[in-house]
Amino acid sequence: MNLSPDPWVWLAAFLTLCIFSFLYRDNIFYQFAEHLFVGISAGYLIAITYHNQIYPNLVVPLFFEGQIIYVIPLAFGLLYFTRFIPRIGFLVRLPIAFLLGWGSGVAIPAYFQRDILRQTQGTLLTADKFATWDSGLWAIVILIGVVCTLIYFFFSKERKGILKPAANLGIIFLMLGFGASFGYTVMSRISLLIGRVQFLLGPWLGVIRY
């Protein structure tokens, strides 16, 4: 064992143990670490947003380079604060409306391209999918899976005849998808624990090389 001489490592280890203490039950150490985290996060966000965004993208061009046009986004941004003045609070709708309109305009075509056109294209059986026997097999499985899952979510027609087994197959595909997601979630959570245990055993206690 080779304990760390670094006080910051000791502080990090203490806060880690404070959070882990919640596994036994809620306690004052856990609450202390939780509140500290929330407070520091808020302060950090404000500081880094100013230094990385407001200063280089607004303060420098407007006040140091004299680009007057930047007054427009500054004024538009300041309208958000009119929310605190009830008499002119309605002005907050202007920047919100601008963001909604602009955001929808740029996002909708991109969503179509990303999630509908390219995904539909990827589901179609084309000659290149059958370059090898296994890629061809998986392409067929994907096509069957997509069609059956869509049939499961088709509620405008009674499930009988061919629709019933297809919808049931769709449920199996859905369950496989949920199972894969759950498996990955477990994997992720275990990884987080490994990271903390590596820290406690490595930099803090010096039991393992890290």
């Binding site: 420098v60 740029v106 990303r114 275990i190 990884s191 987080l192 393992i208 890290y210």
Partner: protein, 280 residues
Amino acid sequence: MNIFELLTKIPRRIIFLTIFVAIAVPLIIPIGMPVNVMPKSEQVYRAVDSLGPQSRPILISCDFDPQSMPELYPMLVALLRHCFARDIKVILMALWPQGPGMAELALSEVPPEFNKEYGRDYAFLGYKFGVTAVLLGMGESMRGVFPLDYYGTPLDSIEILDDVRSYDGLSLVITLSTGDPGWRQWLLFAQSRYAVRLGVGVTAVIAADVYPYVETGQVIGLLAGMKGASEYEIMVQQGGYSEGIRRAAHGMDAQSLGHLLIMVFIVLGNIGYFVIRRKK
């Protein structure tokens, strides 16, 4: 309470303690279980490996925070080692406010191993808020979005950014992402709109969401969680690029035993449940 009732009601503190032991022991006494490299991880490696000193720079976006460090930080370190060993120029940025801390930590560790110099071999643009405007803006003018780098230097004064005006000046973008904003937005705005070559490294919890996009070729490859990070570390080591610490690979024994234990608990709980139900 008989044995089967006990199986369905194992105290949660016993489960926590058992999992902690199952994870801590293999970290102290490694078993050396093999790690198989998956094709989707290899695709990311091959994409980076196909580049060299004459290639345009790679952009790595650190879209994660310390909570995702065990999964994504080893990916970042392994990617940087791979790039620097091949003399590929690297640009870093972040869409998460905590991302700069992660990037700076990696930059304090990896460039000295390869004698790389800031400005000539790598640059760090820092963090920007407002993902849509940032990613669309970078497609038009990198300098419009990032007039200064993270340390306050104008981009025009940074050597490796001389020819990087937009995504056209990049050979590849890799996002290490733990949620939103992250890989979804890179795919939505940078890939769909500007046809950027995009590689993705994500936490395991969202890996399943990325698979459809890898299948269609919208994403060139996927590093999924600590397993993906360990695969990349192993490929970098087998490629003879680095012998540095492989954090994720060291954790894979613990990962495997942790999974095994959870499977055992699930099976035991189900045995207890079905036996009790049959008796009723």
